[in-house]
């Protein structure tokens, strides 16, 4: 009667926390290695690596902030629209004042305000975050359309060039990422959000206020959107209604590829967005440098992402199914 249940060792490894932490990074290193060999080392040249990081930086920033929301088991669909609207208004603020400081303050404040509005609406109305953010996404896009019409707003190239050459992007992202790592992995904020994501009911019964921590998650995500908006402006030099059209999906994809569980909870890592964003860029750039046709690149990317998501996203047994 007391026979021990046989446990498949491979299954045990696959479901272990260590594997879920190492797998995305290992996959990224494998991609770098494979494409490094195929391209005769060109992919891993300093210039190429710099390009890879610059291409991933906007998605990585917004996704890092978004990780706080995803860790709580919620999905935000308005990260992209918030970032683009913020970038639009921040660029207009710069063009009106000529002050870089004003642009930075406007971007971060506005990102926080817009994301806070989503959180407050969700908690006040008792509507799931995903539904509220769908509405907010549509509203923000419409607002940007109303502000810009068919035009775009651009920053002076000299400013863009100066900020690029002075390492503004690396510094802004680096500070934000370090703060996020501390908040997520070394404070009550991260622990509580992961607990809420693991089991919402248990978390509330132990005195963790879901509304409070959700608000904090959205505020941090808002800062991410604000910094992401600044980085998008510096990267592209301009913002229009067609700018970064798939930013939200790119962030979600980066988080999932980076090892974040789509159910949130204990297997959530704040670096997922960074690892995932770089993985996407390496895959794209590696295939392009290997001479693969763009249409085939799209097909490979789609299949690879599907397989990776299927391989990494299994809800641990014993956890209640998420509501809604």
């Amino acid at each position: 009667m007391n026979e021990k249940k046989q446990v498949n060792p491979i299954k045990k490894i696959l479901e272990s926390r260590l594997f879920s932490q190492i797998m995305p990074v290992g996959l990224l290193l494998l991609l770098v290695l494979v494409f490094g060999i195929i391209t005769g080392g060109r992919l891993v040249s300093p210039a190429s690596l710099k390009i890879i990081i610059l291409q991933a930086i906007v998605v990585a920033t917004v996704a890092t902030g978004g990780a706080f929301i995803f860790a709580s088991g919620n999905v935000s669909l308005s990260l992209g629209a918030t970032t683009i609207l913020t970038a639009t208004i921040a660029a207009l603020a710069y063009n009106a004042t000529g002050s870089l400081l004003v642009m930075i303050i406007v971007a971060i404040l506005l990102g926080v305000i817009l994301m806070t509005a989503s959180a407050l609406l969700s908690t006040a109305l008792g509507v799931r975050v995903m539904y509220v953010t769908i509405v907010m996404m549509t509203m923000f896009s419409a607002l940007q359309q109303a502000i810009l019409g068919g035009s775009t707003v651009a920053l002076p190239y000299d400013l863009v060039q100066t900020l690029t050459n002075n390492g503004f992007m690396y510094i802004a992202f680096g500070i934000f990422f370090i703060v996020c790592v501390i908040l997520f992995h070394f404070t009550d904020i991260g622990r509580s959000l992961r607990f809420i994501g693991t089991n919402n009911t248990c978390a509330e019964q132990t005195g963790i206020s879901k509304a409070k921590y959700l608000l904090i998650a959205f505020i941090i995500a808002g800062v991410g959107c604000g910094i992401g908006a600044l980085l998008a402006l510096v990267r592209g030099g301009s913002i229009g209604t067609s700018t970064l059209p798939s930013l939200n999906m790119d962030c979600m994809l980066a988080l999932v590829l980076g090892g974040m569980s789509i159910f949130g909870g204990s297997k959530s890592y704040v670096y997922s967005g960074v690892v995932g964003a770089i993985t996407v860029v390496v895959l794209n750039q590696g295939l392009l440098m290997a001479g693969v046709d763009s249409t085939i690149i799209q097909a490979i990317r789609g299949i690879a992402f599907l397989a990776l998501v299927a391989a990494s996203q299994v809800r641990p047994k014993g956890l209640p199914a998420p509501e809604g």
Partner: protein, 422 residues
Amino acid sequence: MKRLIALILVVVMAMSFVACGNADKPADNSSNTSSEGTVDVSKHHKIGVATVHSGENWEIAKTYLETVIAPTYNFEFVISETLSDANGLIAFMEQCYAAGCDGFINLVTSNDAISQGAHKADELGMWFVTQNSAWVEDVAELPKNIGHCGADPVAVGTAYKEAFSEYLSDGQPHSVILFEGAAVGGDKGQGAASHFYSAVGVLEAFQEAYGLTYDKPIADLVNQQDPGEVNTGNPDVHIYLYPGRNPNDAVTALLPVLQTGNYDIFAAVFSFAAFTNAISDVETSLGKDIKVIGTAQIEKQTKTGFETQDPTGDTVLNSAILNDLSLACAINCIELKQAFDGHADAMKDNGKTVLIGVRSWAVNGPETYAKMEKLNTSPELYILTAEDLLHYAEAGITWQDLDNLLADLASVDTLLERKGLN
């Protein structure tokens, strides 16, 4: 375990795709020379192409790039997915640079994208040409920015004016709904210049035919953000302008306007086919023919439009303003080849880039279109053949020569004659 197998299979599949991608090694074209034997094509060049296009017309242009231009000039093309903005363009340019490209063709047409792209090309040391319809002044003197080539916006407007003048010359009052696409701001580098001038051409044709007195200058009317009826000063002549980039939204919005029965001409500066079903429904319900005029390309959709009958027995498409991507691609590549060979200055006017305009062709009726559609169907039926490409890559050729060439090709009859299709 299944997940591991899935991962391994994906890696294997990706590797096999990569192997396929590497199969096409650049050809040794060192023996390619022009009739005068002055064009050296021994050096291989890799060219990035950032496109906003997709669909049949773009596939035709891609085939032309890869099967005619690439072997002729010893070029290799790295073509993007469909891009839409400056961010996508910059990212793709960086990828191309890392992949070894030394030249770049940009088809992302907003002014800010062109400006940022030209600066990025200068920074990376890649020759840069843009396929668009507007000259961008702030980057005109950048050393690596060679120039622009695209549909000549004024010529598109003229083609529209001519097409409409033919319909309006019967002495009857006519009214039009115009889907003017990205016309708003097209004269200021914010929308599409060709859409702007198309709308201007239509309004001018009506003004001249009926002596209309608009309540605003024509440019102001075209630049209005909101859709609505233009005050024509003539109760029998109605003009409804609909600016917008989404044809599906336009169909929904314009259907009730068509149903008023006030309009007997519909014009679309792009995506005319999106409207044909709705127009047929209205023709059936009103028992009235509505003429359709649209900007189109030489492709199956246009052929279908000219060969299909609407409910009144007329053709679905009555007139087409035709553009050809392949010709613009050829000019872009000639500009790049000249730059690679040390003649970038010849492609510029006193050190500044120029806009070389591809003239549109107004095609009225299926008979002419049946001849035009034979273009681009075989190497000798591309408007510029390998021999032409070599000729225009010779030293001594200037941007004026290219502009003169396109001016010569402006007439449908001349073009068909040149290709032996008349």
